[in-house]
Symmetry: C2
Amino acid sequence: MQKAPIDTIFPQGEPNPYSKFFTGQTYLTMLSEKEHIFNAPIGNVTFEPGARTHWHKHGGGQILLVLNGEGRYQEKGKEIRVLQKGEIVRIAPGVIHWHGAAPNSWFVHLSLETNAGQNGKTDWLDPVADSEYK
Amino acid sequence: MQKAPIDTIFPQGEPNPYSKFFTGQTYLTMLSEKEHIFNAPIGNVTFEPGARTHWHKHGGGQILLVLNGEGRYQEKGKEIRVLQKGEIVRIAPGVIHWHGAAPNSWFVHLSLETNAGQNGKTDWLDPVADSEYK
């Protein structure tokens, strides 16, 4: 495990236990677990340069809050969006997308699964090919 | 308006439009508004030293994610808790509490209103007296 060279604000945590749904090395700290009092799973996710999620969608949607580094976000059929510290991304329920680090930067974001009490299902799809990631 | 001397990560925003429910000067940026797709109102709140909320409670609960500075948190009848960058506070529905800055430090936290689609009501109560804040 490599310590991030940028401030992760919240703990960097351990190598991501969901790494089979990611390309490259990522780290996860769950700040608020999935349960039925708050219905708000929140994780701090740290990506090494070039690391990214597979394509996926959330039944209840997701909000990303960018804490540090430079990242990438793309919805299926749209242009890649560059993400910087202080930006947020609101991903509506059912929208197929991926997110991750820039090729040459570490990247840290909070992830909130919205409407988790009503529909907390995540569907994981194909990896983001190098030709898609660029 | 005074610019925070510490990194607020997300924009510091404007003087808090809900200032009548706060003691001292605070600033608010809404990162995700209250609506019925995400049901996840998220604000970035910046407190000048000594500033704090009034006592209050949330019908659906609240999660605080501490981004910078040193803060205070107290639930009715319990001891005051010191908050530092990287800590989180999960406040169950209906729990009477307050939060704010330490006497000599600016303080920045994200606030997420949980279960906002089911019960987004906030009840504001008395100010936190200087004798309670200390």
